[in-house]
Symmetry: C2
Subunit: 302 residues, 2 copies
């Protein structure tokens, strides 16, 4: 049990964050500015948009404009969520170099969220993976509900491992394990990761934890001890929890960076720049950052 | 590194919580009701009041009325903070069976907070300890700034160990290690605890962590792994951080209980009853609970 020397942070706020913000649509120029500020803060992986039907997710209707509008920075990967072939084609047309697909570890969640079984959802990814491979686009896989489901409750770690392995076998280069409703605690997170790691190498796994119950940092510390070195987070904790009104969703990038700095783990990211970006974007949304570190440190007034 | 089977929770909200709440004075009857509700939720250790000069802390001017007004429950310890002999006499007169004294691990904090050096503060406790012993009153010791000081920055773990040992030698039955400004992270917490544990047995130590930077649960998980089995917390996260406006202070009892339940650690406390108490007291104060678990679960409407 030794901690990694460095961690790669995967920033979620432009996509997972803004997608789950209620209220009015965020202007395309604001999204582009957010992504550019995050890259300038030192982030190397940013999920920038989602190529889904604007009928279902109107917040992401400008995915193409966002992806083609950003000033690309050397060494930064700007990825997009593409749930189907149509989305992937849109992403390829917008010059996206990395996309992501998602499956649930919970049968009930899969049915309620995307109207098909887990097996069917994996099957639907086959043409997506083939086309991505042909176009030279890398694919990341998300598994949701890895530590619990709003409908089923507890999820067997072996179930998570099966789905993660299936995504790996389909060709995903990395599998991000999502505690979608934030119900996990450290030992459960460890046991889940151990089960998954029997099927998928640790170097191809990422932790995507939500802070709904305030447990995200404790859980991250526990899986860092197990060898996780890729962490998903969202600046200012953008993206509420759609399953608990008023509760927080994504763990805040600022809080994760503070933890990692305290553990002596390098990320290459400037914490104060992220704090300032969080104050800026939440001001645009008419609120304040959902990050305790941001609240404690405050914005830079220099 | 194995986790304890059970943890004793030391509830801080009636004293540390309400003392640091700004705004109007909380009525004595409300304080008494809070303490009784917490005891009914299964808490066995409650810091109920502070016998300090009402000139300095007007919020605690009714300490005697609170301590004599509560319906005492079998098996529950109702303690009070007594910074000096006068406070102790007041506590003894009010039939208090356990009191607490505090010292800082930071010289600058000691000077700014209580206007004397660490050594002087310890010396001042000598008559307090003698009188407490004579009256058969147990004394708990707090050490503040164990993971950092708002004036000095980092604090050497050895410094914390010295102060903890001094309080032990003075006769304190338990030493509570306070991350007063919530700046700690897990490895720092572990290293601090290891240093203290070379001077004080683990069974006489408690963790008193603040959540100002969102790190409290991660830090608690780390010290639980080291053998800590007494944790201080405050329902609804009552008690802001006096050193960072708008930021949180005490870690919320609800969040700690959720963590412990998830780790399979027994406390004997009913989480939902604490959540409901948190909603009740914060409504009295005109706000909502500063606990993510409370926000996610909501109050019981049964």
């Amino acid at each position: 049990m030794s901690l990694p020397d460095s961690v790669r942070l995967f920033e979620m706020s432009p996509r997972d964050g803004l997608q789950n913000e209620s209220g009015t649509l965020v202007p395309t120029a604001t999204k582009i500015s957010l992504i550019e500020r995050l890259a300038d803060a030192g982030m190397t992986h940013i999920e920038a948009a989602s190529f889904v039907s604007p009928k279902w997710v109107p917040q992401m209707g400008d995915a193409s404009d966002v992806m083609t509008g950003i000033r690309r920075k050397e060494g930064v990967v700007y990825s997009a969520l593409t749930p189907n072939l149509k989305g992937l084609e849109g992403a390829i047309a917008a010059n996206v170099e990395e996309v992501a697909v998602f499956a649930a570890a919970s049968e009930a969640f899969s049915q309620k969220n995307i109207n098909c079984s887990i097996a069917e959802s994996l099957q639907r990814f086959e043409p997506v993976m083939a086309r991505a491979s042909e176009a030279g686009v890398r694919v990341r896989g998300y598994v949701s509900c890895v530590l619990g489901c709003p409908y089923e409750g507890d999820i067997e770690p072996e179930r998570v491992a099966e789905v993660a392995k299936a995504l790996l076998d389909l060709g995903c280069y990395e599998i991000s394990l999502g505690d979608t409703i934030g119900v996990g605690t450290p030992l459960k997170a460890k046991r889940m990761l151990e089960a998954v790691n029997r099927q998928v190498p640790m170097g191809q796994l990422a932790a995507h934890f939500h802070d709904t119950y305030g447990q995200a940092l404790a859980n991250l510390y526990a899986v860092l001890e197990e060898g996780i070195s890729v962490i998903d987070a969202s600046t200012a904790g953008l993206g509420g929890c759609p399953y608990a009104k008023g509760a927080s969703g994504n763990v805040a990038t600022e809080d994760v960076l503070y933890l990692l700095e305290g553990l002596g783990i390098n990320t290459g990211i400037d914490l104060q720049a992220v704090i300032d970006t969080g104050y800026w974007i939440t001001a645009e949304l008419g609120r304040t950052p959902g990050s305790r570190v941001a609240q404690a440190k405050g914005p830079c007034h220099a």
